[in-house]
Symmetry: C2
Subunit: 320 residues, 2 copies
Amino acid sequence: MFPNAIEPFIDLSTGINPYPYPAPEIPSDCFFRLPDQASTGRLAAIAAQSYGARSEDYVVPAPGTQILLPQVAMLVAPGRAAILGPTYAEHLRAASLAGHSAKEVSDVDQLRSADLAVIVNPNNPDGRIVPKAELLDLARDLRQRDGILVIDEAFADVVDSDISLAGDLDCGNVVVLRSFGKFFGLAGLRLGFALAEPHLATRLNALLGPWAVSGPAVFVGAKALADTAWKNRMLEHLADAARRLDGILAGSDLEIPGGTSLYRLTRSSGAQQLFNHLGHAGILVRRFAEYPTWLRWGLPDGEVAWQRLSAVLASSPKAP
Amino acid sequence: MFPNAIEPFIDLSTGINPYPYPAPEIPSDCFFRLPDQASTGRLAAIAAQSYGARSEDYVVPAPGTQILLPQVAMLVAPGRAAILGPTYAEHLRAASLAGHSAKEVSDVDQLRSADLAVIVNPNNPDGRIVPKAELLDLARDLRQRDGILVIDEAFADVVDSDISLAGDLDCGNVVVLRSFGKFFGLAGLRLGFALAEPHLATRLNALLGPWAVSGPAVFVGAKALADTAWKNRMLEHLADAARRLDGILAGSDLEIPGGTSLYRLTRSSGAQQLFNHLGHAGILVRRFAEYPTWLRWGLPDGEVAWQRLSAVLASSPKAP
């Protein structure tokens, strides 16, 4: 895209934590043998504790949440799917793949008549949070029509845990998705979870079949999710980094309508020019075809990247 | 199951190669970053070459073949599924999950009227091979009724490559499944492939979504599949080991109706007693609920295990 850009490229186009969990040495058995039920069950129990689900019976470990999206959408017979937008585009694609007539809507009330309703909470890219009471009310309405509510909590690790529906699954028609790789900075490992009432969880587990999660992901996931001290230190570190990023962006007269501490969203009339200016300087941010004034910014991974970002932004032509 | 057995347990209950590919050191980026399209595409191209498919457009990389089974079964609308048995039980389960009325049949001709036909080739556990001409003839019949033929070549690495349908996919209604972990002894890595005509491959890729395969699996898989020298050495080594196992089994008056060089099948009236005798001595083999005279034997992983197996078999009570 930018063949003559300055190298190395600084990739700020994802919302993945650039300060990864220090992965422990992985025993070779994790590669050789199929992960056994006991170790996968232990991972599920640790995930239940970490995310606030009642027990491991509510947890479906998967090789990333991405692969779960069509499978979750298939939990209801093809009908109408509504996704609270603008948001991560894969939900619309997955619902369509599952046979639903799917559309993005802009208001929670428009989700009430759906067979499959999807909310990303906190939202990507703008960080919008729908309060828990409103979600539970929506779940109640949907249940009367045998509808399912999917809450994608991919970025919920970095916000107040009170917003999560992980502990409120017994209504039976809510599926919560949790990503492991984003907060722990280990996206390549492929690990994620669906949390749901045990009957739903059993159906999802059956679709995935045995040995869905790799041995290395079972091992590293169990260690990392239990490491509360690392998590707490990282939450502070990410909050500091997000504040520093806001300072740099605001210094360039960029409006910041939202985000989380893993990414910030800016809105400016000169966003496309800025995207190109950054790209030629070897910095990749995320743009949005349908929202040409938006850019999403991940966190730089170290001091060199921070300095380059500051310098490139300071040298950017201002919007007219 | 055998709480007082001699330890360490010798697990001969799988068909996984116990002499694993020496996994190269995995770069930390494989864990941190989402696997990019370029590296996954390169893995697909190497797999195409290794398995004999026309190009990477025919290859769907997946986190193991297990997770593909229901997705492959969903390529045809719910109808009748027939699986050539007796064989790996997960095919029946996956076809049922996908909404088919599914049953095992004992003759290839009984597959001709199915909407979804499944053959494991070579078969697990008896090693039966259906010749390629017969498979192509079956695929032709099925195509006239918009049926799909699935050939599970999970153990095809260790037999003559002429039996594979990997190079015969242009008829458009054949899906070949290839397992990476069994032959390379890296089952915990979770890597497998569907091979299919590009339109079908695109549909399967869409169901899996992006980043289905982990960074470590992309990296190790590409190295191992390109390592023809290791593959050739291993084929000889496995053939030698299978001969040695046959000698030990035959010396205990066990009939060997079939197998591959990754596992051997025995038939004997005293199979259940033998299973228990082995178990108490810390050796686990595979038995089959519906075939009480059968046992399936994987390969011992080293000289200590070979000696223990020989000794335990020599001390086994003979069948009446």
